[in-house]
């Protein structure tokens, strides 16, 4: 009997030596691997989608590329880890991805309950509805009794329940796993309306065969601040992601673009010089980044405005206006702390 117990204890001892854990040093892992792995959607036009040759493109992917440019000096060293709304946090927390750039709404429960670390907002969004024009619906308030497709595992599900309850209306929720399936169900008429963030609706409408026969209703029923997320417990990596986003916004504010970034290196504006690494920023070494990290971002990916216009702006099929995503000094909400 005694030997049995000691064998069990020995077994537990061996077990504790063998166990492994999610490493805290994400930056070291990324550098060793030579690739930044970003958790992105399974495909959402304009935001994250594989193009014809299978290369991932889009608004969120560009921020992923910016992260790679900052950390590895090469924007192409990324790997897209696709995830549904349901699996994204599990994939991030299980270490399958290093950072989540996946139009994810920042909420209290996600920040603290899941838990995650959020780093500011790269897209200010709100939940809306798309319906077929021939239904004759002009407002979300007329949707009483409608069947509504929703992507499951998102904040939209909760907003929808709240909105209809508050307005004393009934609806049939048709829960769907991915944006593509939701589109199919909506097109087939399984649901009268499809609801998701307004940016997602624009993306979905741009992929329909007859975009003109669909309208996005005027009501925006929620605040959806979308932003990147990382795992709890890695302050260095978290700060890097925060400042990657800030660098793109600051660059736009200072008028630094991918085209003029080389000339700007000889600018007289001290903040530009600090941003581009001509003058040293105190604390940069602690972040583990090279001197030209922000230069690399702007050179290879561009500033916030360039990323926006290239992927989702008015000249793209999505045709989204800057709106709340305009810079703070031009009537929007995008605002970066200073580089000082």
């Amino acid at each position: 009997m005694n030997s049995r117990i000691s064998a069990i204890i020995a077994g537990i001892g061996v077990a504790s030596l063998l166990s492994f854990s999610v490493a805290a040093g994400t930056l070291d892992d990324v550098k060793k691997r030579g690739v930044v792995r970003c958790v992105v959607t399974t495909g959402l036009a304009g935001f994250a989608y594989p193009d014809k040759s299978g290369v991932w493109k889009g608004f969120d992917v560009d921020f992923c590329r910016a992260t790679a440019a900052a950390v590895l000096g090469d924007a192409n060293k990324i790997k897209a880890v696709t995830s549904t709304g349901k699996t994204r946090f599990t994939k991030l927390n299980a270490g399958e991805g290093d950072v989540l750039w996946r139009n994810t709404t920042i909420t209290f429960s996600r920040d603290n309950g899941v838990p995650l670390r959020f780093h500011g907002v790269n897209y200010y969004d709100g939940q809306g509805f798309i319906v077929k024009k021939k239904l004759g619906v002009k407002s979300a308030k007329e949707l009483n009794g409608a069947s509504i497709c929703i992507q499951t595992g998102t904040t939209t599900e909760l907003n929808l329940a709240d909105y209809f309850k508050t307005n004393g209306m009934k609806y049939e929720a048709v829960p769907i796993e991915t944006n593509d399936e939701a589109r199919q169900n909506y097109v087939a008429g399984r649901c009268d309306a499809y609801t998701t963030d307004a940016s997602g609706l624009a993306a979905t409408r741009s992929t329909l065969t007859d975009p003109k026969n669909h309208i996005i209703l005027p009501e925006i029923i929620s605040k959806e601040p979308l932003g990147p997320a990382t795992r709890h417990g890695d302050d260095q990596w978290s700060d890097i992601v925060t400042w990657v986003l800030n660098a793109t916004i600051t660059a736009e504010e200072l008028g630094v673009t991918s085209k003029n970034v080389d000339q700007m290196k000889s600018s007289k504006n001290l903040e530009i010089l600090r941003l581009l690494g001509v003058n040293e920023l105190s604390g940069r070494k602690k972040l583990g980044l090279s001197k030209d990290w922000a230069y690399n971002i702007i050179k290879s990916v561009g500033n916030y405005g360039e990323i926006f216009e290239r992927n989702v702006g008015v000249n793209t099929p999505l045709a989204l206006k800057r709106g709340l995503n305009q810079l703070w000094n031009k009537g929007g909400l995008q605002y970066s702390p200073p580089f000082r």
């Binding site: 077990a15 999610v22 499951t152 595992g153 309850k165 829960p175």
Partner: protein, 398 residues
Amino acid sequence: MDIVNKSQNKERSVVSRLWNNKDARSVIIQILTIALVFAVLSIILHNITVNLAAIGKDFSFDFLGHTAGYDITFSPFLDYTSSSTHFEAAIVGLLNTLLIAFCGIILATIIGFVFGIMRLSNNWLINKIAYCFVEFTRNVPVLLHILFIHGIVIQLPVPRQAVNFIDSFFLTNRGLFIPKPEWGPNSWIVGLCFIISIAIVFILRTWNKKQQEKTGVIYPIFWISICIMVLFTLGSFFLTGMPLTWSVPELRGFNFRGGVSVRPEFVALWLALSYYTASFIAEIVRSGILAVSRGQNEAAGALGLTKSRTLQLIVIPQAMRIIIPPLASQYLNLTKNSSLAIAIGYMDLVATIGGISLMQTGKEMETMIIVLLTYLVISLIISAFMNWYNRATALVER
């Protein structure tokens, strides 16, 4: 002699002496096995604790009492709203899983037996139809069947162009809408008469069996039973002044209101799971029937029993003993396959507690433990029932 033996024993080490002793060896192996099992378990547990701590997560089931916040449209048994708790959401999911499993098992059994018997038909066409059905169905993954049926169902017409049968039944891609019976005040009398008629039929059958044993006369008891039941029920229905109205579905706004709706997600999952499992059941039934020796058939023929009586009294009872154990596995498969429901948005256990609740609370470990244990319990219950049934129908050996 004694002294020589002792010195020899001392030379061999303690370990090899223990190893060569049959009883001691078995104890050693058992100890090693237990140690191994515990080592693996502790690796897993330790790993979970370390990693949960590393990402700042705790392990608790408190979230079950919190408000779920999301709606589940398909909740036929419970009144669920978005202010219900995650626990209630789990119960709704569980009931939906049980509903699909129950309906699926019944339909799969019916289709399976029909095709299994068709497979044995001497008619070439019937035989080959059954053969093709079985081979085409069971060789395609069940998820594809589910997506295929769902793809067909959502291409049905939208509510405004519903397929309309006599203005009461409507088939749309939002589901099948049928009139709902609404019973009036005296309707309990009709129900009572129906139960009485069943009791009478039961007594009649017992009497008939005794008569047959005594005299050998067989009365057309089946038709008599049907007549009694119909007469009693219909008679009482008309005498109480037809206490029944129908709530007919009616297109109002976006959807039909009133009546009963059978949702397309439910239909797609139900049909796909049923016919997929049925293809396996058909083969089980065929093998069961073929396993009954020809002699039994011939003996029954020699006794002058008709073909249907032979099947009913000789072949099927013996085949059932072979059919039931593999049939139980198919029932378990169907129940577990129902977890694919999420693919088409049917709100089962995996979609509610293991899906949306998981997502909203971030409690992957806890919700998955709940889902796993629930499936385990459901499966064990089905298993226990089928084992009991197997024993009940087993051959009583003398």
